[in-house]
């Protein structure tokens, strides 16, 4: 990677905020209508300044005010919090009891770190096209569960800039969920506890040996990707450590013994061969099937960072911020092409500024405020704009209905 691409110096950031960051788009998305409402004015913004100074409880009347402050403070990134009962910047002048979070998008955070125990391609901060398979699987499962089971429609997925993905849900009902209800929803979607040590704790998500319908739906999909993701790409059961992990799911000790001897004797057997060995045994012994299903779920089911979703007052990085380590923009993603997404194909701030320079040289035109239209940032901004348009249509419909009702 050329060094210019990860240049996130204050000067670069400032140019990015001044010329490229789509403040209007963010405003529309948070505000749900054109005229500033409480959804924006009572919203908390938190800035991480150069030198890791954290500035909380900022709030603004409109997009221009936000832009002015961002350009003045030039933060490395900023985060979006809940809508409070009063303007967050007035927090100190208000009685403690009268200042509480009211509404907030329902958010989810999926991070590659939670997959470290099972992924074989990278470790820690690294991410490659292969790892993305886990994230893509998680996005599919969560996206369809939220839509089908909970009936929410206004979902936007945002790449976190390095090795994770965020989901923001802006349906009115979702925004109004209490912390208790958020906790329940997370409980529904959680099947694997990333904190629990894999080997010590076998998953238990069955009732009387049966999978609940929600997990059955997920399983139907996960079965289709398990082969390529886990067996081919990750080759999870190739090493001794890997297949020992697998054998722990089989409760019948004789089967375990015979498989272990077989696999020890021929270390060249791939994960796929080993999985096929299991399938062959299972075809004559149907009571093994649930264990295999458990394996599929355990290795591919989404691993959520539950704390992010449970509380309304949790802050989450705003879309289009720059990840300070990679220089990449946190871009919104289209869920239908999530499988094809390549994290390394996301524009970096350095790249965008180079594009701007190139245009400037060609046209020699004056600096305008929405220069993103001429860069490779455009498709991503358009994506969020379309999403916000949907939110605004909803509000307008709601208002019109109110008018007619009397």
């Amino acid at each position: 990677m050329p060094s210019a691409e990860i240049d996130v110096s204050p000067e670069v950031m400032l140019t990015f905020y001044r010329r490229l960051y789509p403040f209007k788009t963010i405003f529309n998305w948070l505000n749900h209508e054109h005229a500033p409402s409480r959804l924006f004015t009572h919203r908390e913004f938190a800035f991480t300044l150069q030198g890791d100074v954290y500035l909380r409880y900022q709030s603004f009347n409109n997009a221009d005010e936000l832009k002015k402050q961002v350009c003045q403070l030039n933060p490395t990134r900023f985060e979006i919090g809940p809508v409070y009962s009063a303007r967050p910047r007035d927090k100190k002048t208000i009685r403690a009891g009268a200042f509480s979070p009211q509404v907030r998008e329902l958010v989810f955070d999926i991070d590659m770190t939670d997959y470290d125990p099972i992924r074989t391609c990278c470790k820690d901060a690294g991410i490659c096209k292969k790892c993305w398979g886990f994230i893509a699987a998680a996005v599919h499962v969560i996206d369809s569960a939220i839509r089908d089971e909970f009936g929410y429609e206004k979902l936007i997925w945002v790449y976190s800039g390095r090795r994770g993905i965020h989901l923001w849900i802006s349906d009115k009902e979702a925004m109004e969920l209490t912390d208790q209800q958020r906790k329940s929803l997370v409980g529904w979607l959680t099947a694997i506890h990333p904190t629990a040590k894999e080997s010590s704790k076998k998953p238990n998500f069955r009732f009387g040996g049966k999978l609940p319908p929600s997990l059955q739906n997920a399983l139907q999909y996960l079965k289709t990707i398990f082969g390529e993701l886990i067996l081919t790409e990750q080759d999870c059961f190739e090493s001794e450590e890997g297949y020992e992990e697998l054998l722990q799911y089989i409760s019948d000790s004789r089967t375990v013994e015979s498989l272990r001897t077989k696999w020890e004797d021929s270390p060249s057997r791939s994960s796929e061969d080993k999985w096929n060995d299991l399938l062959r045994i299972a075809s004559s012994r149907p009571n093994l099937i649930p264990a295999l299903e458990d394996v599929i779920i355990q290795y591919t089911y989404p691993r959520l960072d539950a704390e992010v979703s449970k509380h309304r007052n949790h802050l989450l990085k705003a879309p289009f911020c720059i990840h300070p380590k990679t220089g990449r923009v946190c871009v919104p993603l289209d869920v239908t092409s999530i499988d094809k997404f390549d994290p390394e194909g996301v524009p970096t701030v350095g790249q965008l500024l180079q594009e701007l320079d190139a245009i400037g040289r060609e046209e020699g035109a004056a600096i305008s405020h929405s220069d993103w239209e001429k860069t490779s940032l455009k498709p991503y901004v358009d994506l969020l704009d379309r999403h916000s348009q949907g939110l605004m249509d909803e509000v307008r419909k709601e208002k019109r209905k109110d008018d007619v009702s009397w």
Partner: protein, 481 residues
């Protein structure tokens, strides 16, 4: 709303021919949607609230003492029977029914006023009230319960046959049917927004489709409880906001203040007003030392031991310990003898001049001649820093463990029992810790969870009297043999 004055209680309840049709409160249970608007006396106002508080305090300490649901139900039922009975429609005469239900209604709303003031009190009140509601709901009989549920609009839609067929497999997978139920006609389902049954959602015990939860009729209670809880939470917040504007004379506020302290130590017990002697056998001054070792709770043992060690006690210590001994049954003559002997380092002259008056004063023989009650746990716990206080609260954990072992090891307290006691102390359930010590040191007669005659410790004299009573019973049993 709460006008004083007597008689209204009887006026509106002229005996009538038993006819359930005219019951003011047709249902045993109450959702407390409508506040009471009848007249009541200030005494009734306080009395029912205290009675209800006794039940709630016991429910709360049950949670702290890790009782199972069945144990909790038994304990709560007993407390309800004692303080706030609520009978079924078929059981009692209709006149009594209305009276009982009226008290239940009134007491709930009085406590709302007392417990709406802080976030913490609200949370505890909601939890205890919801538990009480669940216990009663469990006890309610099928027909009564159905009628009660019908009386309120829960805003649920029943799922039509068509829809039920459409999701047949999902519904069956979500609600596995045991073998015995298989031959039953297909179950009815209700549709509600999923946010109404968060507990079922969290445990994945429900079928969800586009935001709707399909709840089978046997899980219906989950909706009811949730509704009760959220309704009460909202109502309490509303009350809290309106309370400052309560147009009130000076009679109610002190009562409400007093009530809201009640959860702190669990107010239940008649001991709160104990001022006279409770023991029929006369206690002599020289018996105190022996009794202290066998029957006293830790606070009084601590006082007794520091008196023995230093031959002195400071004013508040004397007051606390002296009144305790008075209620225990020490006559004024014996009390003077006891204190004289204990204060062995001062002259007769000084004793008579400086201490005797105070002793006689506390027996109501000097000054304004008031018969002072002994201090309850609540008073000891909430007293100022100059007072001796409850050792479970004031001692450091190390000191407390040492004190417990040295005081009670002869009566069977072992160091393996300490973690449990210390856990209660750590979560500020001091009376629970004390009760547990009582149970352990009386393990021959008292099982775990029995407490002091079925209740938690709320008064040092209650502790001592029960201990003496148990010893006497054991002795009598031995004599018979």
């Amino acid at each position: 709303m709460f006008k004083g004055g007597h008689g209204s209680l009887n006026e509106s309840y002229v005996p009538q021919v038993a006819n359930h049709g005219v019951l003011k409160y047709p249902h045993r249970m109450n959702f407390y949607d409508v506040p009471p608007t009848f007249d009541t006396t200030i005494e009734e106002f306080e009395r029912c609230a205290l009675d209800r508080l006794r039940i709630l305090a016991e429910i709360e300490s049950s949670a702290a003492r890790n009782r199972t649901w069945e144990e909790l139900k038994t304990v709560t039922r007993a407390q309800c029977e004692k303080y706030l009975p609520l009978n079924f429609n078929l059981v009692a005469k209709h006149n009594d029914l209305d009276l009982e239900r009226r008290r239940d209604h009134l007491s709930h709303f009085v406590l709302r006023l007392a417990f709406c003031r802080s976030e913490d009190l609200r949370r505890r009140f909601v939890k205890a009230e919801t538990t009480l509601f669940k216990v009663r709901y469990d006890d309610d009989m099928g027909k009564d319960r159905d009628a009660f549920l019908d009386s309120r609009d829960f805003n649920w839609t029943s799922v039509g046959q068509e829809e039920q067929r459409q999701y047949k497999t999902e519904l069956e997978a979500a609600y596995p049917v045991s073998k015995s139920e298989l031959d039953r006609p297909s179950e009815k389902y209700y549709k509600v927004k999923w946010t109404r049954v968060p507990d079922l959602v969290e445990r994945r015990k429900v079928f969800l489709k586009e935001g709707w939860a399909y709840v089978p009729s046997r899980e219906q209670s989950s909706i009811v409880f949730q509704e009760f809880e959220t309704h009460l939470e909202r109502a309490l917040e509303m009350t809290a906001r309106l309370l400052p504007r309560l147009d009130e004379d000076t009679r109610l506020l002190p009562i409400l203040n007093n009530l809201s302290q009640g959860f702190l130590a669990g107010i239940s017990s008649e001991w709160s007003n104990a001022s006279g002697s409770t023991n029929t056998d006369e206690i002599k001054a020289e018996m105190v030392d022996g009794m202290a070792k066998k029957h006293f709770p830790l606070c009084m043992r601590t006082l007794h031991e520091s008196l023995q060690r230093d031959n002195h006690l400071k004013h508040f210590g004397r007051l606390q310990y002296g009144l305790f001994l008075k209620v225990l049954g020490l006559s004024v003559e014996e009390a003077v003898a006891f204190w004289r002997k204990s204060f062995s380092r001062i002259t007769d002259d000084k004793f008579n001049k400086e201490y005797k008056y105070n002793i006689r004063h506390s027996y109501g023989l000097e000054g304004k001649r008031a018969n002072y009650p002994a201090k309850s746990c609540l008073q000891i716990l909430t007293g100022g820093p100059s007072e001796y206080g409850c050792p479970y609260r004031t001692f450091s954990p190390e000191n407390l463990q040492a004190a417990l072992l040295s005081s009670y090891s002869q009566q069977g307290l072992r160091s393996v029992d300490l973690p449990e006691i210390m856990a209660a102390v750590k979560s500020s359930h001091f009376h629970v810790a004390c009760t547990r010590v009582f149970e352990i040191t009386h393990s021959a007669d008292v099982r775990k969870g029995d407490g002091v005659g079925g209740e938690s410790v709320t008064h040092p004299n209650q502790y001592a009297a029960r201990s003496i009573e148990l010893e006497k019973a054991a002795k009598e049993a031995m004599d018979v043999e």
